[in-house]
């Protein structure tokens, strides 16, 4: 039976997860099934073809395209050094000689007698794919990559920027509603993943960059500070390739929003442990959310295999986060699930649910405007 779709973000202390590590083009897998790998260890390698430089010899020599072969010094497939002569004409008077030199080091890939151009290709660039998380190789995808399995604590954020990194987890604030201030950041946080509370200001970001922290995890930021950080207004939420000096993960959203108690407690419990994080977010055509993975140390866990629970619709008692104004960011639990459509102040008739908050108050919220906090 179809049921109403309620998005959720996972916050769990124990889960077994798999991360597929895939090369952008076929290459060599460097590990084998069963190997233990570290987050910063290469697991596969590929050679990215070099850049191509077209050069129109016919134009430069002032000859017809189908004549260029007669002027070539280098042939198809030959290696060339930057500045080496590729082609030259042979005039009667030496002064009129024209030499065409290669603008790059590489090889002559092809030549065309229709257009008169040669294509030069730079040497390939080696690309190493890292393990990303400490774990075990459970599957090899020949020439493509591997799948790494790890038993870990997992926190999914709502939005992030910056790519994959890893480092020691450190909590810089004392409570989830405390904003992360520049004074919280100390020089010994270099290369670490710093957890803040409700908010991160532009000043704190600048300080984080100065100290060279690996990552920041906070409840919220202002959009204007994100714009300052990136240097442009982010239009579509497809991120992960930004280079701003650190990886940033928001657990709640935009604005000053206390981090969910459950998330804060979980991260606090793992202070000093190594974590892998990724800011990559894609909210379209396949949702990717940023994540914080804290692998269990080998031997710290025995006989537990906890896959993420499969959820079958929302139920009374589920912990939820309200994700739209006017109660944006508040956390409570589902106390009633009326099935009939109800009219909300906009006059739309929608499916709703009732949320009970810690102080005992209740509110009726459209089902589309809550998010289940998933994970045990």
């Amino acid at each position: 039976m179809a049921h109403s779709y309620t998005p959720g973000l996972t916050v769990t202390d124990c889960a077994v997860i798999w991360r597929r590590r895939q090369l952008p083009l076929p290459g060599t897998v460097l590990v084998k099934a069963g190997d233990r790998v570290q987050s910063n260890q290469p697991v596969a390698r590929a050679e990215l073809p070099g850049k191509v430089y077209p050069l129109n010899l016919a134009n430069q020599l002032g000859v017809a395209p189908d004549e260029i072969k007669e002027y070539l010094i280098k042939k198809e497939g030959d290696a060339v050094q930057k500045g080496e002569i590729l082609a030259e004409n042979k005039p009667l008077i030496k002064w009129f000689k024209t030499e065409i030199r290669s603008p790059v080091t590489g090889k002559v890939e092809s030549l065309s007698t229709v257009t008169g151009q040669v294509l030069l290709r730079e040497p390939p660039r080696v690309l190493e794919l890292l393990g990303y998380v400490d774990g075990t190789i459970v599957e090899i995808h020949p020439n493509q990559g591997v799948t790494v399995e790890t038993t870990c604590s997992l926190v999914q954020g709502i939005f992030g920027i910056g790519g994959e990194t890893s480092g020691e987890l450190v909590v810089a604030v004392t409570s989830p509603d405390e904003a992360l201030m520049p004074t919280h950041l100390k020089p010994d946080m270099k290369g670490k993943i710093v957890v803040g509370g409700s908010f991160l200001s532009a000043e704190t970001m600048a300080k984080a960059k100065e100290i060279d922290v690996a990552g920041l995890v906070v409840g919220g930021i202002h959009d204007k500070d994100l714009r300052t950080l990136l240097g442009y207004d982010l239009g579509v939420a497809i991120t992960g390739t930004e280079q701003v000096g650190f990886t940033l993960i928001l657990t709640e959203g935009f604005g000053t929003i206390p981090m969910a108690q459950k998330t804060f407690a979980l991260l606090s419990a793992h202070t000093g442990e190594k974590a892998s994080i990724s800011g990559a977010t894609q909210i379209r055509a396949g949702v990717i959310r940023p994540e914080i993975i804290i692998p269990r140390r080998a031997g710290s866990l025995t006989g537990i295999s906890t896959a993420l629970p499969e959820r079958d619709g929302i139920q009374i008692g589920d912990p939820v986060r309200i994700i739209r104004d006017p109660l944006f960011g508040k956390i409570g639990e589902v106390s009633a699930l009326p099935s009939d459509l109800q009219k909300i102040p906009t006059e739309s008739e929608v499916r709703v649910l009732e949320v009970k908050f810690a102080d005992g108050s209740r509110a009726v919220i459209p089902r589309a405007n809550i998010e289940v906090i998933e994970g045990s």
Partner: protein, 617 residues
């Protein structure tokens, strides 16, 4: 096999189930023949399941159909199979359907890269061919696009299109540039978006004299298909062969790679169409049937599609990053805060608004709960609609580069070739579709959003798609035009009414036009429309009235400044709207005056349930 042939079935089509697999939700509708007339009876919805953990689009389809089963009490599914045909002949009309059909834009739709030789000639023709086939064009490469050759190659390499369309040169013209582009593509070795194991589909529709060389260069590197030149001579475009090829390759290659689509293709009784192509079919059908000039818009979460038919010429554009959820933040970036705020009837500080918009972007499925949130979303929608139409106007043009014969009379009024085909004064109908328009709590909100965004001139009728079923009807019309037309007229199209907007500007309170409306019951209303005024008269669906307007001296209703016009106007669920706010529409620059003007207009047409107040945060 053509669509028509594929859709032919041996049994009559009395019960039809259709789905549209969108990027977020899969929407299913049931169409039944009742008393010799087709009606849409039930609808179901479920999340699209193209992505992990399901990675099988048919799961979402089955869930959406299961919802219809629950609501209608009809048995349609047998496990994972759709029961066809309907068992009426066996005495069990409540079991099975006669055909299942579908459209799809899941997984980001059909993403194409196109190439031409001259950017605003063959480059644009290729773009129009791809857009008309329902694609999103991710880049247009041309010999004169200003990029250096190695930059072009790098760009082709980094793009991961589903398909490439190559054009360039007129038949019999020079081949060098188009061969050069083929060489760049070959050097770049482009890879398809889905899967690394198959060759990228590439259509060559350029100078026919270069076909041999293009085959030689690209034959091994791509799944090359050659078709007729889209610009055989400068004066004529020939887009149909390339569009048909795009549809074929979409089904043969792209769809085969998307998760679960092989199963979906087996389930359907007619070829799956890209969603925008199906909507385009419906728009063209309406325009042809009623001899109309129309603009249609489908504003979604990620993209806004604009369709137009003017003097029989169909055009479609897609603004890939203008939408109401995934791309909402981009509307803010492109329109600017001031342009959005001009439609908001209260004050709100910039930081709060920016954060709210970003929160909608990261949680795209949320809905406005309070009135001020609704007003902000509808303000953003106006700007998304406006920007998408500007984009459409720039591409829906006559052919550029065509030699024009000039006479002595053109000396003072020379027009360049490639003028936009969109003439708002000749526009008969605006058709709106997409969540924010189809599901606005009051229909008048849809009408005002479109009027504000498009600023129609003179007399223009407006309508909306009732529950978003144009894609379904588009694909249905390819197999049974009567069924599609029946449902379209009775259940899909909701006529909102007519907007009458004189062209000209004046001070608030100055005379804009005198008018006389003669209603069908004999009632006559005579009054004056002043500048800065918005009026709404009830004129029900299927009712008509005769309207005579005598504009002020400098004001034009299409017949010339100060010239009176008498027209028959048609009603709708909203009515007859007289827009004296001036064209071009100007809003007061002063913040308080603007809020006051918006509040006055909104209450004049009953846009929102309560009077607005300044909202403090």
């Amino acid at each position: 096999m053509s669509i028509q042939e594929a859709g032919k079935s041996s049994h009559p089509l009395n019960v039809i189930v259709a789905t549209d697999c969108g990027s977020t939700t899969t929407k299913a509708i049931l169409i039944e023949k009742v008393d010799n007339e087709y009606r849409q009876t039930y609808r179901g919805e479920a999340p699209t399941t193209v992505e992990a953990p399901f990675e099988d689009v048919t799961r979402g389809v089955l869930n959406a159909i299961a919802e219809i089963e629950e609501l209608s009490g009809r048995k349609i599914l047998d496990g994972e199979k759709i029961l066809t045909p309907n068992r009426a002949a066996q005495g069990d009309p409540r079991t099975g359907v006669d055909i299942y059909i579908s459209t799809s834009s899941a997984g980001g739709g059909l993403q194409m890269m196109v190439t031409g030789v001259v950017q605003n000639m063959t480059g644009e023709s290729a773009q129009r061919a791809a857009l008309g086939a329902g694609a999103i064009v991710i880049d247009v490469l041309a010999s004169n696009d200003g990029r250096l050759p190695h930059e072009k190659i790098e760009r082709i390499r980094t793009m991961r299109p589903d398909m490439i369309l190559m054009s360039g040169g007129t038949d019999g013209g020079a081949v060098t540039h188009v061969v050069e582009m083929a060489e760049y593509i070959a050097a770049a070795e482009p890879r398809p978006r889905f899967g690394a194991t198959y060759k990228l589909p590439l259509i060559y529709a350029g100078n026919k004299d270069a076909q041999g060389q293009v085959k030689h260069i690209l034959g091994e590197k791509a799944a090359l298909e050659v078709t007729d030149n889209i610009r055989p001579v400068l004066e004529r475009e020939n887009l149909a062969p390339a569009r048909n090829k795009i549809h074929d390759l979409f089904l043969e290659h792209v769809m085969q790679q998307a998760p679960g689509y092989k199963k979906l293709i087996d389930m359907t009784g007619a070829p799956i169409m890209p969603t925008p192509a199906a909507v385009g079919v419906i728009m063209e059908t309406i325009a042809r049937r009623d001899h109309l000039n129309l603009i249609g818009v489908d504003i979604g979460g990620a993209t806004t599609d604009v369709f137009s038919v003017f003097e029989g010429v169909f055009n479609r554009t897609v603004s890939a990053n203008l939408g109401m959820s995934y791309s909402i933040s981009n509307v803010l970036a492109e329109a600017g805060l001031a342009n959005i705020m001009r439609w908001v009837p209260f004050t709100i500080d910039e930081q709060t608004l920016r954060n709210r918009i970003k929160n909608k972007m990261v949680r795209p499925t949320t809905i406005p709960q309070t009135l001020d949130e609704l007003q902000i979303e509808q303000a953003i929608a106006r700007e998304a609609l406006r920007l998408a139409l500007i984009h459409h106007k720039s591409l829906a043009t006559g052919l550029k580069g065509v030699q024009q014969e000039r006479t002595i009379s053109d000396v003072f009024e020379q027009q360049t070739s490639g003028k936009t085909l969109i003439d708002m004064l000749k526009l008969d109908l605006i058709v709106g579709s997409g969540g924010i328009l189809s599901h606005a709590p009051r229909r008048v909100q849809s009408m005002v959003m479109m009027v504000d965004a498009y600023e129609p001139l003179g007399f223009t009728r407006l309508s909306v798609d009732s529950i978003f079923m144009m894609p379904h009807l588009g694909v249905l019309s390819t197999i049974d035009e009567k069924a599609a037309t029946d449902v379209f007229v009775r259940d899909c199209m909701v006529y909102l009414g007519t907007c009458v907007a004189p062209i000209g500007q004046g001070k608030d309170g100055e005379r804009c036009a005198d008018y006389e409306i003669m209603f069908s019951d004999g009632k006559v209303v005579k009054d004056q429309l002043t500048f800065g005024e918005l009026r709404l008269f009830p004129l029900a669906l299927n009712q008509k009235a005769t309207m005579t307007m005598q504009p002020a001296k400098q004001v034009n209703l299409g017949a010339g400044p100060g010239t009176p016009v008498t027209r028959e106007v048609q009603g709708g669920v909203v009515g007859l709207m007289l827009d004296g706010r001036g064209r071009p529409l100007q809003l007061p620059a002063d913040q308080l005056a603007r809020v006051a003007a918006l509040t006055k207009w909104f209450s004049a047409v009953g846009l929102y349930p309560t009077a607005n107040k300044n909202v403090e945060f």
